[in-house]
Amino acid sequence: MSQAPLDRAKSEITFTVNEKLETVHVYAMERLLDVLRHELGLTGTKEGCGEGECGSCSVLIDGMLVNSCLIPALQANDTKIVTIEGLAADGRLQILQQAFLVCGGAQCGICTPGMILASLHLLEKKPQPTLEEIREGLSGNLCRCTGYIQIFEAVADAARRGAST
């Protein structure tokens, strides 16, 4: 059987992912989450709830923090996307990632990529956030294991070390 009819339903989408230009052929309403994981093999982005509640699949699109499970692939056309894989250049952890490690900000790890991107987004807006601002900034990202306290400590520690610069 030819795949031609199905293939014709697909769209060509071009975007920049972690500073690399990518072109994929996907259905317009495919979730960006699936495109990242299945088409590009970027499995660092996790699916938690699949309904935009938990924040596990958070990525940055043109600097905005979004749930990639709610973004149709077509909407990502011609944008710049940052996933967790874009953070540790050459395998070296960023200040923020190192802070999560040292402070105990990660346990099971499912929320961690989204939590780190949400933290990065917060620190870009507010380089020296108060505890209340950290709580507010991360309230779209659920964590079942840590009780959040050590995540707050990690973000505060990263801020002190100048993670946003």
Partner: protein, 271 residues
């Protein structure tokens, strides 16, 4: 922690010890699934197995009694070159005074229990009937704290789940299915919902665990909800016998209570 235990037992650096990916095809059965035993039981086994490596090497004259990490590495390499493989096995031995029946799954699965005190401070809002936890203190006796950061994380995480258990997470079970199995209708605490969770440790040791450690994971999920319910009862002078206490549960209990002065004007309606 298991790598930490091995590093401590052999005088190596933590970074020099790596742990194999667990695979049930390759590892033995570790007994009943009663949890909170990893550090205590597995940790102790890992410690014994590590000591076994050292003893084997020193007994065969390949390693001096005191050695550097480099000497240890060289000695292990020499042993593998000579014997092809180097294994050290440790078998769990039930302490004499502990009885566990593997057939009937009865008895005491633990040689030692952790202890804790939980203190919750709450505010009950008599307009919305919602409760917030304003402060929480956990004092844990876990024998020996092997890794302060991870140990604290286990406690704060457990307390956070306990707060959800007490105030938010209502499972609606109908016809054999959970009716609210989504994050939109089964609500768990977010980063904006939790109080400061202050964790303190006492270390009274435990002869059965690795370096005196006891289990840690479960207890912080057991005690916090009762502490929170007791605090709400203290604030409202009304008894509760179920959790979670959602605003509607608190409203119902207050409406039925014989202490009308507690019930807010909004609850009494258009008087």
């Amino acid at each position: 922690m298991l790598c930490q235990i091995v590093a401590e037992a052999l005088g190596l650096k933590y970074e020099d010890v790596s742990i194999a990916q667990p695979d049930t095809h390759a590892v033995p059965n570790s007994g009943p699934t009663v949890a909170s035993r990893t550090v205590m039981v597995v940790g102790k086994l890992v410690q014994s197995a590590a000591v076994g490596i050292e003893k084997t090497l020193t007994a065969s004259g390949m390693l001096p009694d005191s050695y550097t990490p480099e000497e240890f590495r060289g000695s292990c390499r020499a042993y593998v070159a000579k014997h092809g493989i180097f294994r050290s096995l440790a078998q769990y031995e039930q302490p004499g005074d502990i009885v566990w029946d593997e057939e009937k799954y009865r008895g005491s699965a633990y040689a030692a229990f952790a202890w804790a005190v939980y203190v919750a401070e709450v505010t009950a809002d008599l307009t919305t009937y919602s409760v917030s936890v304003d402060d929480f203190v956990a004092l844990q006796e876990i024998g020996k704290v092997l890794h302060p950061v991870l140990a604290k994380g286990q406690i704060t995480g457990g307390v956070a789940q306990g707060i959800g258990f007490a105030l938010y997470e209502k499972v609606i079970w109908e016809q054999g299915r959970m009716q609210n199995g989504q994050m939109t209708n089964y609500i768990m605490p977010t980063s904006a919902d939790l109080p400061p969770i202050r964790v303190y440790f006492e270390e009274l040791g435990n002869v059965h665990g690795a370096y005196g450690a006891k289990g840690i994971g479960e207890l912080p999920m057991d005690g916090p909800a009762p502490a929170i319910v007791n605090a709400i009862e203290d604030a409202l002078n009304v008894s509760f016998n179920s959790i979670p206490l959602l605003p509607e549960d608190i409203f119902a209990a207050l409406s039925e209570s014989a202490t009308p002065e507690i019930v807010a004007p909004t609850a009494r309606g258009g008087e």
